[in-house]
Symmetry: C2
Subunit: 321 residues, 2 copies
Amino acid sequence: MGEFELIRRYFSAAACAQKTAGVAYGIGDDCALLEIPPGEQLAISTDTLVVGVHFPDGCDPFLLGQRALATTASDLAAMGARPIGFTLALTLPEADPAWLEAFARGLDHKARSCGLALIGGDTTRGPLCLTLTVMGRVPQGLALRRDGARPGDLLCVGGPLGDAAGALQLITGRRQAAAAIAEPLLARYWAPRPQLALGLELRGKASAALDVSDGLLADCGHIARASGVALYIEQERLPLSEALSALLHREEALACALSGGDDYVLAFTLPEAFLAELQAQWPIQVIGRVEVGEGVHLLDGSGREIEARRQGYQHFGGSSD
Amino acid sequence: MGEFELIRRYFSAAACAQKTAGVAYGIGDDCALLEIPPGEQLAISTDTLVVGVHFPDGCDPFLLGQRALATTASDLAAMGARPIGFTLALTLPEADPAWLEAFARGLDHKARSCGLALIGGDTTRGPLCLTLTVMGRVPQGLALRRDGARPGDLLCVGGPLGDAAGALQLITGRRQAAAAIAEPLLARYWAPRPQLALGLELRGKASAALDVSDGLLADCGHIARASGVALYIEQERLPLSEALSALLHREEALACALSGGDDYVLAFTLPEAFLAELQAQWPIQVIGRVEVGEGVHLLDGSGREIEARRQGYQHFGGSSD
């Protein structure tokens, strides 16, 4: 048996432990088999993480496993889908048992908390690269898409923004901070919590949704374009964590919140009628509104539009992009 | 817009052209959405191809696109699943338009012939690496698994074996041959035809099935192990193509048929009652039988077991492997 066969067996042990409802047959045949209840659709998304691009060379394998699954599972949250399972395509330069054990542990840890079973995959030799494909299910017509935002809706986010971008300044050594500041930020980067429960709650309420992965302005641009509307963001209402505010000056923290990626909180548009009910249960924050028009517009405290270029941001979302 | 955004748009054009039944929503949101009819299950499989491991550096991108999809779609054939769609995770060192155009054309060509729609993916920068995830559907209980072979069943294959291994000798320059010999062999390697229609036909008939990707002996070992039976292969009955027989001496051709991978024909076990009906329509070949016991056993023309080690093969399939 080759070393890569051993790896497969290692992961398949992890897979057996976390079978979820919906997995009819997992690892061990040409295909896995999933059950999708009548009236529901399968939601599926793929993400690739490459060493040196999406994570630093030499990074902790436990954290990598955890983060890889969390960032991919976030696409299910963004769609309002209930998790079923995932496949892992793992390309590795060598089969280092200590690395693999820690990576599989990180993956398994996050898989359990998300309710995702490992149902298949492929292990090959080559430069370190991961591709995860996550699958979930969502009742027909209730998936949270990007194209339903309507003028008059509120623009909301599911939690503080910019923490992951702040953490990256620590990881790359551009900043240093005491543990009380660094730890919560690093946790947001390495162990993002896909907002799966919030995604389920938003079904039938949010008119459009996605997860903030490329940065708030860029991602709001996706909603504006898909829905054919303008989004106005009030800069003063952006939720910033205490840790980020302690690490950075306000202007820098706002830049992280607006353009830093990797936060994996949900951004969504919501008819105002649903706001009170949701806010009673979830720490969601209104950050702006949907209007007739196009593009994403940033407003200062007095409601004046901040010229995007002056702020060093691209003006996202116009159809001419 | 970055070059990688352009790539995504290029592939999404290809995706729109080939929507198949079952794709409720393709590229353009956090997840794709698929419809699985009531009473059917989703079948899903992932394969990774790495440059220098699964295909030579500098190989023709049209052929690579074609081959990558065909080899992955073959897992749907092996399961008796009807194709729906696939995702593509493409990692590329650079966005070379000519390479991409040819690769996407090869992929699209095979996708159309398999009835698979491109429903999502990810494009990243890094060493050339492809991960494809294919999805299909199969009525509950009818998937062709590996664990149902019963003593008394026949062991069959869906076509000639060893051609891809013969082609590899040409590709790596170990052999040379006239076009009349080389072309059909190279076609088997670069443009394998997943036996999707045969897979559908075998539902409710074959007791176990898979596609020959690792080599006949190794793959039969998977069936023997999963089903808890012994498989006996009669070497004289192995189907060899004319081209392979012209390229290699018989002993070498048999070695390709037994241990060469990449053929992507189906191997399956079949109660004898179904044989005549199937053979009337499909060029399937009986190559052996299922018996009580374990492991894969190779028999010579007089029915004597060939000692595997002497032949240079691993003895596959025993539980101690």
